[in-house]
């Protein structure tokens, strides 16, 4: 993308690496990253809940850092790297974190789960053996209305212990 003005009505190409694949999408400036991932790229594992930066279900990794895709315009991530739940899910079966969520009943309705798994990915990269306090702090931006969180904490602890 050049540094020229991108007009409100026109569509502009945005180039980003999504789950390791170079993508070019044509977007209006006001289109949110969450919507572009879902509607332009068909990556519907990124969910959309409150749309105002509270619930955390739209969480993705931007250049490896946990962010909310509903609080980003797609034009802002031009030239950057995005990882969604599809990017951390193996072609066959489950990742160790996903398997641990299953084993520990860390999900019920599943709506918040993709964001929870990505948050766990980000946490375990920097804290391979997190305390319960670390886990609860890391997950404070992800709301779950089903589990009461305890089984999610168990899933993360279970995974980090088994991964050692």
């Amino acid at each position: 993308m050049s540094d020229a003005v991108i007009s409100a009505s026109g569509r502009t190409p945005v180039r980003m690496e999504v789950n390791g694949v170079a993508e070019t999408v044509y977007v209006e400036p006001r289109w949110l990253l969450s919507d572009v991932l879902r509607h332009q790229l068909g990556l519907t594992g990124t969910h959309v809940g409150c749309e105002q930066g509270v619930c955390g279900v739209c969480t993705v990794l931007l250049d490896g850092v946990l962010v909310r895709s509903c609080l980003l315009f797609a034009v802002q991530v031009d030239g950057h790297r995005v990882t969604t739940i599809e990017g951390v899910t193996p072609d066959e079966g489950l990742s160790p974190i996903q398997a641990s969520f299953q084993r520990h009943h860390g999900l019920q309705c599943g709506f918040c789960t993709p964001a929870m798994v990505l948050t766990a990915e980000a946490l375990l990269r920097t804290h391979p053996n997190p305390s319960e306090a670390d886990i609860r702090d890391a997950f404070s931006g992800n709301i779950c209305r089903c589990t009461g969180y305890q089984f999610i904490v168990d899933a993360i602890r279970g995974c980090s212990e088994e991964e050692r």
């Binding site: 105002q52 404070s140 931006g141």
Partner: protein, 287 residues
């Protein structure tokens, strides 16, 4: 929720950002966007153009300059919370930055946006007041400095002019005493229902030589609780005196009320957290 349409442009320097701002009607700067985007989605803000300043290198650094620490407007909360200079020199600021919102917010939100937005429940304004920070702006008429006492005018309202860019914030490093930040956070948003920043310096006998207390989340903007400071200044903070003084925390403001916290409840929590903050600062000072 999709905001109304706007033009978008990236600026790569402060000069470019300012000239774009002057030449465009109804433009707004965006960096982290964590204050602006929610407003745009609810159509409380509908800028005709967004000028993306996030890639401006010169606004991304933290540096020690004599007895001050200068923090670029684009530094994220996470950067501030983990920066060694800030952890050492301004520990209460590091503590507060580490408790802003949640991980995702701290990864993206910036100190410049936080202060310019001036949400009554946001954490950093109280820290700016506690340390007596200076806000450095740049506009068409050159640089302008705002002492923090003159910066926050009301909810979402600051002295910053529409033609100016908030460039950096500088914090004087206290040469004595200890400071802490205590916060009762809203469980979902992470905003402060009550946040209290306290700094105390005592002599060898435990007499309070200097004290500052600043609150956010309680009034229409962050404020210094001067009544609390005066009640403790020059005295020894016995539990009894501290308890009495803490109840003066809401003396000089109109206390906010919302669905989460009534006025009375907030007043009560403000007193409790003021006491805890001062106590912890005192314990730290005497260690």
């Amino acid at each position: 929720m999709i905001p109304s349409a706007f033009d978008y442009r990236r600026a790569s320097s402060v000069e470019e950002a300012l000239s774009l701002l002057q030449s465009t009607e109804d433009a707004k700067f965006v960096a982290g966007g964590h204050s602006l985007l929610p407003l745009m989605k609810m159509r409380f803000a509908s800028p005709g153009m967004l000028i993306d300043i996030r890639s401006i290198q010169e606004l991304q650094s933290i540096r020690r300059d004599g007895n001050r620490v200068v923090i670029g407007a684009l530094c994220t909360h996470r950067h501030i919370a983990n920066d060694e200079t800030i952890v050492q020199a301004l520990p209460a600021l590091a503590e507060a930055a580490g408790r802003v919102g949640d991980l995702q917010v701290r990864n993206r939100g910036t100190i410049g946006g936080n202060l310019a937005h001036a949400d009554p429940a946001s954490d950093l304004p109280a820290l700016a007041l506690l340390y007596g920070a200076t806000i450095h702006a740049e506009g068409p008429d050159g640089p302008e400095d705002y002492p923090v006492e003159e910066f926050f005018l009301g909810p979402m309202t600051t002295a910053l002019r529409p033609t100016q860019l908030l460039r950096s914030v500088s914090f004087p490093v206290p040469d004595r005493g200890s400071e802490v930040y205590e916060k009762f956070a809203h469980p979902a948003s992470g905003y402060a229902v009550v946040g209290v920043a306290a700094w105390v310096a005592t002599d060898a006998g435990g007499i309070i030589q200097d004290i500052r207390v600043a609150l956010n989340g309680v009034g229409y903007c962050a404020y210094r609780a001067t009544s609390v400071e005066q009640a403790l200044f020059g005295r020894e903070a016995t539990e009894e005196l501290l308890e009495k003084a803490s109840h003066l925390a809401t003396e000089e403001v109109e206390v906010l009320e919302d669905v989460f916290a009534s006025e009375n409840y907030r007043r009560h929590v403000a007193a409790v957290f003021t006491r805890r903050a001062i106590r912890r600062a005192l314990d730290k000072a005497t260690r």
